[in-house]
C-alpha cells in the first residue's frame, strides 16, 4: 500500500514532503521514544508518534522511513517541516490519538515492524 492511500483513508494533513507519498509501505511502528524507534523501525515503515520536534526527521531519515504520522494535534514547527522537506520525509498530522491511528492502519492491513536481531 502506498503512503498516499493512507493519507486519504485516515484523512491526514500533509505538512511536509507531499511529493514523496508514492512510497510503498513495508509496515508500521509506534513509539515516542526515539531510541526504541532506532532499534525497531525498519526501512519503509510508517512511524506513528506524538513527538513533533526536529529530531524525528533525523531518526526517520537515518532509517529511511516512509513517513511520520504526528498524532493528537501536535504541530511540528517550521524548522522541523523545513528539514523534512529537505530530507524528503513526509510529515502527516492528525487530531486522532496514536491508539486510534494504529487501529486504522491495522484495519488497512499494515503490519507492525517485526522484531529482528540486528546482527
Amino acid at each position: 500500500m502506498k503512503l498516499q492511500k493512507i493519507v486519504e483513508e485516515l484523512s491526514l494533513s500533509v505538512q511536509a514532503a507531499g511529493n514523496k507519498l508514492d512510497t510503498e509501505i513495508t509496515g508500521g511502528y509506534a513509539s515516542d521514544l526515539l531510541s526504541c524507534v532506532m532499534a525497531k523501525a525498519r526501512k519503509g515503515n510508517v512511524w506513528v508518534t506524538l513527538q513533533s520536534h526536529l529530531n524525528i526527521v533525523a531518526v526517520a531519515a537515518l532509517l529511511q522511513l516512509a513517513g511520520i504520522v504526528v498524532t493528537e494535534g501536535m504541530s511540528p514547527d517550521a524548522a522541523t517541516l523545513d528539514k523534512a522537506n529537505e530530507e524528503g520525509i513526509p510529515i502527516l498530522t492528525t487530531s486522532a490519538t496514536t491508539f486510534a491511528v494504529v487501529g486504522q492502519l491495522t484495519a488497512l492491513g499494515i503490519k507492525g515492524a517485526e522484531v529482528v536481531n540486528d546482527k
Partner: protein, 316 residues
Amino acid sequence: MVDTHGEEKITASAKSILEVTKLQELVYELKIEEVMTKKVVTVSPDDTMRAMKEVLRMNRISGAPVMRGRELVGIISIENVIKALERGEIEATVGEKMTSEVQTLFADETVIHAVNKFGRLGFGRLPVVNRQGQLVGILTQGDIARGLLRQLEIDYHEEEIHRYRASHIFQDIVSDQTGLILRYKVQPRDFSRCGEAASKLKRALERLGALPAIVRRIAVVSYEAETNLVIHTTQGGELLAEIQPEKIRIIAVDHGPGIPDVEQALRPGYSTAPDWIRELGFGAGMGLSNIKTCSDEMHLDSKIGVGTRLEVIINM
C-alpha cells in the same frame, strides 16, 4: 533480516519510478538542437520527383526539406513519391508536389515541444530552424528516442564512475593497513543538530558501497553515540569513524562528566536524563543497549571528572 525481501521489492519499484521520472525530466531538459540531425539532406524545388527519389534512396531517408537557396520553401517525403508514381507524375518537379506550408520547430526549444507537435500533427519529420528562421537541422521521432537513450547512458555512466571512484578507494590506495578516518564534532545540548554526524557518516558509507544491513547497524550506533554526547556531556565531544576494508571502528570521546557506574548505565531502561529531555523522546535508557545490540565488539570506559570513551567495532 526478516524483511530483506520487502526491502528489495521497495528498492526495485523505487528504482523504476526513478527511471521514469528521469526520462520525463530529460524530455523537459534536453534541447531540440541536442538531439536533432544537423547534417540535413535538402532538395531543390526544381528537381524532378524521380531525381528526388534517388536522393532519398541513396541517403536512406524518408523525406527532406525543400530549399530555394537559403530559404525553406517546403517539405517532401516518400509518400509524395508514391502518390506521384501512382498518377504517373514521376517527372513532375518537387516544387509542384511538395507540402509548402511547413511546420517547423525552434532549435532552442525543449524536446517536449517536439513530442507534443509530433503527437498533434502525426508527421514523420519536422525541420528545425533557429530564431532567424534559418534551417539548422531536422528531427524525427527516432532522433528523439536516440537522443534520450544517449543522455540516459551518459548520466548512468557518470553515476557509475562516481560510485566506482568511492567504492574502489581501498583497492586503489595500497598500504599495509588502509583506513579512512571521519571526525565529527558534536555540541552539547544542541538537539536541533543531533543526528547530523550520524547522517553524514551514513551517506559516506553508502558512497563507499557498504551493505544496507551494515549501514543500518552503523547508523544506529552512531546516532545513539551522538545523542549521548548531546544529552550528557558538559563540553560536547567527538564522534570518530575509522573505516577499514573489513571493519569499521566508531569511537565517541568526551571530557566529562563521566559515568559513575558503567555497568548500571549499560542496563536497558536505566537513564539519568532529566525530564525535559525525556519529554523530547530522548533519554529512554535504551541508547547503550541499542549500541550493544548492533555492534560486534563494544568497550565503554569512563572516569568521573575525566571523560568517557566508547569504542565499537562492526565487521563489514
